[in-house]
Symmetry: D3
Subunit: 156 residues, 6 copies
Amino acid sequence: MAQVKLVNYEEATAEVRAVFDDIMKTRNTEYINNIWRALAVHPPLLKRFWLQMKEVMVKPSKLDPLTKELIYLAVSVNNNCEYCITSHTFAARRHGLDDAMLAEFNEIVALANAGNRLTMGLQVEPDERFKPKHDDKAWSVGKKPAATRKQPKPSR
Amino acid sequence: MAQVKLVNYEEATAEVRAVFDDIMKTRNTEYINNIWRALAVHPPLLKRFWLQMKEVMVKPSKLDPLTKELIYLAVSVNNNCEYCITSHTFAARRHGLDDAMLAEFNEIVALANAGNRLTMGLQVEPDERFKPKHDDKAWSVGKKPAATRKQPKPSR
Amino acid sequence: MAQVKLVNYEEATAEVRAVFDDIMKTRNTEYINNIWRALAVHPPLLKRFWLQMKEVMVKPSKLDPLTKELIYLAVSVNNNCEYCITSHTFAARRHGLDDAMLAEFNEIVALANAGNRLTMGLQVEPDERFKPKHDDKAWSVGKKPAATRKQPKPSR
Amino acid sequence: MAQVKLVNYEEATAEVRAVFDDIMKTRNTEYINNIWRALAVHPPLLKRFWLQMKEVMVKPSKLDPLTKELIYLAVSVNNNCEYCITSHTFAARRHGLDDAMLAEFNEIVALANAGNRLTMGLQVEPDERFKPKHDDKAWSVGKKPAATRKQPKPSR
Amino acid sequence: MAQVKLVNYEEATAEVRAVFDDIMKTRNTEYINNIWRALAVHPPLLKRFWLQMKEVMVKPSKLDPLTKELIYLAVSVNNNCEYCITSHTFAARRHGLDDAMLAEFNEIVALANAGNRLTMGLQVEPDERFKPKHDDKAWSVGKKPAATRKQPKPSR
Amino acid sequence: MAQVKLVNYEEATAEVRAVFDDIMKTRNTEYINNIWRALAVHPPLLKRFWLQMKEVMVKPSKLDPLTKELIYLAVSVNNNCEYCITSHTFAARRHGLDDAMLAEFNEIVALANAGNRLTMGLQVEPDERFKPKHDDKAWSVGKKPAATRKQPKPSR
């Protein structure tokens, strides 16, 4: 049972309805998942989280949709978030994931966890050759063009 | 400083050298990463972990190499394994990851963590429609063909 | 060493400069932290993360600024994020946290981790009386006002 | 189902009853939560954990009771401890947390997780100016007053 | 650099010195680790944590000292606590852990993490036969002996 | 409900049956746990994970069986894997763990989590004297015996 009452469309404010409408339109469905109905108790949060999800997960980008779902799912498995594993496995299947691929995906997640722990437990240090190499300069306000620079307060 | 001394080629046993040779051949390199040199203090572990890594990450499969690296990396970021983030970001770059994609990848990892915590904190339950639906039968030994079934011990 | 080159003001695009300017103005400083300079390699991410940080952490809300910093810090300690612990302990000190309060804070974080593990390890189930009680209705598209409801496609 | 049988008052030893009595008195209730009934299978653990909880969470201190509950809850959400989220959300509500504040709290937890992962994934290093500055001296036994110092064993 | 100044013996209060003395006596050493010197900024925390450590880790109990260190270490590896891995690997070596056992230990930690994630990712449910079976009765104040039961306040 | 259908003996391929048979023989039982039935959807994964489990957890080694189970369980509690806590507590009980030892075990896990967070939150650095001391030489291909060294490709 969620810690807050799930909001339904007819009891929603105009602000919440606008988000629900956008979710349904974007996803081409008339169903709103429980998470959005829960977030609706605090409309600014609902709005912020939906806009992020839309920009990061829905909007076309350099990574393809299935890869994006698998990255999201890898995190969800690591955090053991039942809701998220359920809904994002469902989403990944819609993008073509089958049982064998799901098993393969989970084996990589398992192997990464194993490899991480071996490395952490034995405190192995990164090889020099794999470290990034760039020459970072310290931040300096002197590098801001004069026009936008803060003026020292006049002494009185 | 690793908890164990990093093994070098000339002091390695034949068993360890065989693994080192296979790593170098498989990866077409003459360099052995610190993690393998650390695992070499316990040859059976070195062998098991390398064989898994080779079968899961190197052998061609349904998921493409960059996707596999990104799944591995997502776990490593979540576990904050510096060694693993360093070496697998390096590997992912070799498979075509650029700065913008790395940023995009990390934003998905960040968003998934945010979404996971919102769901967990509010204890939102999975929607029925996203749950898998299959009819699992209980395991039953009666379903084993008679020939391989354990015989009850004769009473005396 | 960060995985990406830290962006400096004079090499930044107009889009990035606008965010840097807003950070400096909002925080009344001429210094930009490393995290923002790193995120600047992918301007849409920089913008999204800054806007969220500003709305959630800076904008006045029901929770006071020190409490907000301590919630943020509790998560950062749990995830062992050195950068985040360093910068948010600094921020919390600015809001009045002293050594004794920092120690008290960390003891609560430690105690919660202990309590969580005792409960998880012994698999203790939540007491009925602490569970939320509300009567959630299933989502139903019939509850959308007719005007905004999707029309069935006309058959031809 | 807990891994151990929940102890009831009438079957409890005197040692356990003393703790149960103190919990009921301190909290002004006649109800004992499941966690205490589970810990009662090992009385020294029950006693130690209750005394800590009482000193850290109940005893007045520099941090106010709601802030303390929210720090505890932030950890519990991060660890996904269902029991702890349920009972400490209940406790926080008793100290004045309403739905909007709960949502705001969870958004901070979510944002912190997002920020942590962005920083960890990109391996951003702490800014020098946020690091603590103090001059730690090495521990030296010579600094113990002579009277309490261990005497070298007399040579024979 | 620790977030608080490490306390030295000669600047410590009597309360802190008493704990330092007990640590040195219990461990038969004249050296105090950094963690205790840091906790000393808040003496009640120093005292509570040391007493627990002493009762749980030092005092003889059903589990042998090496097993206890390995349980502590398994958690520390999982949480990637560098300080804790360093100091408890050192402690475990004192109790007889050698390189091969350390490697074996870390392989179990790695395997458990792999097994955990496979189970969580595929959402496999516990087999009925492994669940604990006991008949818990609800807590009932009626079960408290009458003498200690709270009296209803007399109405006036 | 698992994300994949649990495989039963009579519908299993020969490859899967061979693993099931080995599990039953090794464990002297006619029952196959849910996890193996789930992994059976991807036979190479089933095989790899079982062989590892057999070599690491079943095969006699320097660490005794109960200690190995407790290390595995410590990780499972830390990751809050319900399936794993249930099945490995069951296994540990078979190796002699009783209620008081289980409580003691969980208190160590809890204490380690508390200690880890105190150390991480206060960013205490490892004492020099606990750090491993060995003199690692850089990997050098020149150290490979000439016979196995890669020959430079002949220029043409």
